[in-house]
Every structure is written in C-alpha cells, then in structure tokens.
C-alpha cells in the first residue's frame, strides 16, 4: 500500500478553485474514489483547504498524480501548480502539520483539530477507512493534541479584535452578561461588534453622529441604536465601550465617565479606543474600576504574542517530524509484513 495525498489550501490555490471543491459531497466523492481502484480514503474539507488522503496498492500504478487527476475530474477544473501531491512519509508529515495547526492561516488555531476529527469520522461512517488510515488519523489527532499541550502554539491572542474581546472577558468573565456600546461606525468597530456577537455578548448598542448610519449598523449586528446626544447616558448601562469616531478631539473624558460610574454600583467599565486621533482621554484609565486600552496597546500585545509563537512553531515542528518519522517506520513495517509496535515510544503520554 502507498499513502497518497492530493490537496490545495489557502496558500497554494485561489478562492474560486477552492470553492469548486468545497461543494463536493465528501461521502459521494469517497465512494467514487473506491470505484476507481483506491482503497481507503479520507477528505479534509474546511474553508481554507481541501485534501484527499487515499491508499492504493503498490503495484496498482496509482500515485499522488493519479489521485490529483481524480480530484480535478470531480472539480471540473485542472489544478496545475495550485495543488500539492505527496506520498507516504511526506503525506504523513503534512497531515500531522495540519492537525497541529502549523499549516493554518492563523498558526496554532484549534478549530482544525476538530475538523480533522470530523473528517475522519465521515470517512469511517462511509466505510472508507481501514487499519492504516484508522491508525494514521488517530495518530494525527494525538499529535495535534500533544503539540498544543506541550508547546505554546495556541497560547495568546492573534488579532486585535480577539485580544480586545479576551481582555474584556478577563474583566467581566462571561460576556453573555455584558452590554457593549459602540461609538462611531468605522470598519474596525464593526469587526469588533461581530466578534462580540460571536462570543454572545448580551446587547450591542450603537451610537453615531449620523442617526441613519447608526441604525444601519445596528440592524447588521442585531443591536440597537441610541442618538448621539444620549451616549453619555448609555455609558452607565454599558460594560464594554468601543470608540472609533473620526472626532478630532476626545469625546469621552474623566468627568463623563465619573458621572456614568455613579450609576454603575462599582461595576467595571472597559474602554477600547481604536480611533486616531484618540476619542477617550487618557485620564480615564486612572479612575477606579475603569480600564482603557488604546489601539497601540493592543497591537503591542499581539505583536509580542506572535513573536513568542515563532518559538513554539519550531518546537511543534520538531514534535511533528519525530512523530511522523515514527509513524512512517511503522507504516513501512506493516507493508513489509513484519509489523513493529507503534506505541513503544509513547511512554509518559496520557
């Protein structure tokens, strides 16, 4: 048996080509695959990648190139250099890298591990896995988990929006009890309101100098709008305030906030100022229970977190290489009919 891989991802292929593959029905494609002389097969399909792993008898004359041709036929378009085609050891290492988040758009993200797992179960339910692919995918999940516990690859924020929301949750805990007040209508403010919405913030209120625009954005993110003159009063009810207006002078100063704090019974208030020039006066950060993070504070933290990820990526790469080599040795031994044990090097794993 040979392990084959044909696939494309966000780095190698343009979106239209990936979309052609995204619409394929995995189960149907796998059955098709079997009728064409391949043995086991698993499809990993996410927004950023489409990969087909398959096994073919050694003397069947079917290699990664043939697998790619099969996929091209399904997609109805040639891949050319947009696809990668790998066999055996290279394919194993690639799968382990994918499961570890090393090949992801945001390195170290954790969603991919669940996606690999789901992909494997879809193939298993379709009866398209056997001994080799079962062990291969279980191993990939194990390596992906291990990389995340042993390295700092998934630690720390990766974007300003996710960091701002993470910090807010370090102040308030569960964001489901939190209301957010958005001042202004910049693109970043909208990204943040979407992030807040996805973390199930209780309420999103928009205030903007243009009342129509405020209502428009409120409709987009299922929030409500308050007239611009009333935002100081809305401060008392908000927990997270995102400021992104084009005002040339600060619109929130410590007097405004002190007045709002009177009605808050000591509950914290978290400001995120992403405007330039600043909308929120620096003196606000000096008040009790009030925290102000400016764009440059957030950017500095993200930059540092990404820098420390670089180190983790190297460490993760070593784990992946070691585990991939170990699997390949086992794979060879099974092919040669003198199977060695795969678990012997896992002492201390749990």
């Amino acid at each position: 048996m040979n392990l084959l891989l044909a696939g494309l991802n966000h780095k190698t292929a343009p979106l239209p080509l990936r979309e052609r593959l995204a619409v394929l029905e995995p189960q149907k494609t796998l059955h098709q695959l079997r009728s064409e002389g391949f043995a086991e097969g698993v499809i990993i399909a996410t927004c950023n990648r489409f990969e087909l792993y398959a096994l073919a008898p050694r003397n069947s004359g079917r290699g990664a190139a043939e697998l790619s041709v099969f996929l091209e036929r399904q997609a109805g378009a040639p891949f050319g250099p947009a696809a990668y085609r790998m066999e055996n050891g290279d394919a194993v290492r690639h799968l382990f890298e994918v499961a570890s988040g090393l090949d992801s758009l945001v390195v170290g993200e954790t969603d991919i591990l669940g996606q690999v797992k789901d992909s494997y179960f879809v193939a298993k339910d379709a009866g398209m896995t056997g001994k080799l692919s079962n062990v291969l995918f279980q191993r990939a999940l194990f390596v992906g988990k291990r990389v995340r516990t042993e390295t700092a690859i998934s630690v720390g924020p990766t974007s300003v929006a996710s960091l701002a929301v993470d910090l807010a949750s370090r102040v308030f805990g569960n964001l489901a009890d939190c209301s957010a007040l958005i001042l202004g209508a910049g693109a970043m403010a909208q990204t943040l309101s979407r992030t807040l919405r996805s973390r199930s913030a209780k309420e999103i209120v928009i205030s903007n100098r243009s009342w129509d625009r405020a209502r428009e954005i409120a409709a987009e993110c299922a929030g409500s709008a308050v007239p611009w003159e009333e935002f100081p009063r809305a401060l008392a009810a908000a927990d997270i305030v995102i400021a992104s207006t084009a005002s040339p002078t600060p619109i929130v100063n410590s007097e405004t906030v002190l007045r709002a704090m009177k009605g808050r019974m000591g509950r914290s208030l978290f400001f995120i100022d992403i405007s330039m020039p600043r909308n929120v006066d620096e003196s606000v950060h000096g008040l009790d229970h009030v925290y102000l993070y400016r764009m440059e504070d957030l950017e500095k933290i993200v930059a540092e977190s990404l820098k420390s990820r670089d180190h983790a990526v190297r460490h993760a790469g070593e784990i992946v290489r070691e585990k991939a080599d170990e699997f390949s040795r086992w794979f060879e031994s099974v092919r040669d009919g003198r199977e060695i044990s795969l678990t012997h090097s896992d002492h201390g794993d749990s």
Binding site: V171, F172, G173, M265, D288, I301, S350
Partner: protein, 282 residues
C-alpha cells in the same frame, strides 16, 4: 503515629502548594489535577492524624467526648485541616486551579508552624473547658476563619488580576486567572457565607459564658477582637450589598478583616486572660 501522619500531611500540602505555583506559570492542567490529588491525600492523612489525636485525648478520662482543640497544636492543626478541606471543596466544584497558589500557603503555614513551634502533647482539660460547648463554639469559629482564609486568597488573586489589566501589559497569568468580576463575586459569596457562622460562633461563646460564669459578655480581648472582626466583615458586606464598594477597595476592607482574624486567633492570646486556654505555644 499522630505526628508522623501530620508530618506526611504537611509534606503533601507543601507539594500541592509547589504544584499550585508551577501551575501559576506553566499552562498544563496536569499540575492542577495533581495538586488536587495531593491535597486530597493530605486532607485524608491529616484527618487520620486528628483521629489519633482524638484517641489519645480520649484516654485522659476527663477529656472524654471533647475535641482536642484546647492547645495551640490542636487548634492550628484543626484550622489548617479546615482551610485545606474548604479549598478542596471549592476547587473540586469550581476547578479554578489557579487559586491554589493563593490559598494553599495557609494550611502549609498553619500546620508547619504547629509542627515546628507548638507542643503536640495532649493534656487534661481544665474544668472550665469540660463542656459540650468546646465541641461547638471554637470549632464553629475556626471553620469561619478557614473560609475567611480562602476569601483572602481569592482577594489576593483579584489584586493580581486588577494589576495585570491596569498595567496594559497582561502576561499569560491574566488569561488564566478568573475575571475581576468573578473573583469579586466569589470573595463576596465566601464572606457572606462565613460571616453568619462567625456571628453564631461568637453568640455561642456568649451563651457558654453565661452558663459558666453567669454573664454573657466580658470585654475580654479575645471577645473584643472577635467582635471587631465581625464588625469589619459586616461593614464589608453592607458596603458591597448596598453597591458602593467593589473591586480593589472592597478587597482591602476584607483583607483588614482577615488581618483581624489572624490577630484574634494568635495575637490576642498574649493579651487575653479568660481565653488563655490555648496551651503549648512557643
């Protein structure tokens, strides 16, 4: 046997505390899991040790049916057992492993100082203490002290978290500690649960005093300081409840309350006449 078990329990608490500190700096849930396990073993060992103490206490005829908490050793060891058990309960339920580093130093210091400075010998109870109240009044009070010790740890964690976020340079620790508002609530809930226990304990002391000496209250330093402690925490609860005081300042008030707990338990013994029962100190 009692001492050997207490020393073993101390070793387990100390190891659990070390793991709690490791967990503070390295993200690996196995530290927190092992911390909880070691704590569990420590609590069992110390309970067994306390069992042996009760047994040797029992052998002195006039002590029968009374708890061996009339000496520094007995009281400190009961107190550290209670702190450890309360923490084990809170941690087991909330899985906030990170708080171990803030709470576990207390049972370690408590049991450690009992082992180093206090005399573990059991002796006969003086007649004034031969009352069923000895099983209730001090035990109830020390249980509230144990809860206040846990609240103090939670308060420390809140100050650390507040500082992390105010600094604008949050470290890894910031993402692992519970949020400011959660810590604030937890601190409040523990104190709100412990305060009635403290108050009931003090009133029981009054009832015992009335039975023994015919008067409810004598302004003995221990009584006075216990009352001061209760008033400080009552002030905290009032201000917190009315909503005027939260966060850092509230924590400072609760910490003054805990300082008063420590002084009531230890310091007052050098001043108190009536409550100078605790024997075998340094």
């Amino acid at each position: 046997m009692e001492l050997a078990l207490a020393k073993a329990a101390f070793a387990f608490y100390a190891a659990a505390m070390a793991l709690a500190f490791l967990y503070l700096f390295y993200k690996d849930d196995k530290w927190s899991l092992w911390m909880l396990r070691l704590m569990g073993v420590g609590v069992l060992l110390q309970s067994a040790s306390f069992g042996f103490r009760m047994h040797s206490f029992w052998l002195i005829p006039e002590n029968r049916y009374f708890l061996p908490i009339n000496s520094f050793f007995g009281a400190l060891s009961y107190l550290s057992l209670a702190v450890a058990a309360v923490f084990y309960f809170v941690e087991g339920r909330h899985r906030l492993g990170i708080l171990g580093a803030f709470v576990l130093p207390w049972p370690v210091i408590g049991l450690g100082s009992a082992l180093i400075w206090a005399d573990p010998k059991t002796s006969g109870l003086v007649p004034a203490l031969q009352s069923y109240w000895i099983n209730i009044h001090p035990v109830v009070l020390m249980t509230s002290y144990a809860a206040f010790g846990n609240a103090f740890g939670v308060g420390l964690a809140l100050l650390v978290q507040e500082h992390q976020i105010k600094s604008r340079k949050p470290s890894e620790l910031c993402y692992r500690l519970p949020s400011i508002e959660e810590l604030d609530d937890l601190n409040y809930h523990i104190i709100a649960a412990a305060w009635p226990v403290l108050t009931v304990g003090i009133i029981m002391g009054g009832v015992w005093a009335y039975n023994a000496w015919g008067r409810f209250w004598g302004w003995d330093p221990k009584e006075t300081w216990a009352l001061i402690t209760a008033l400080i925490y009552a002030g905290y609860l009032h201000m917190r409840y009315v909503g005027r005081l939260r966060g850092k300042k509230a924590i400072y008030v609760s910490m003054v309350g805990f300082a008063s707990v420590v002084f009531t338990f230890l310091g007052v013994n050098f001043l108190s006449g009536l409550h100078a029962y605790l024997s075998g100190g340094a």
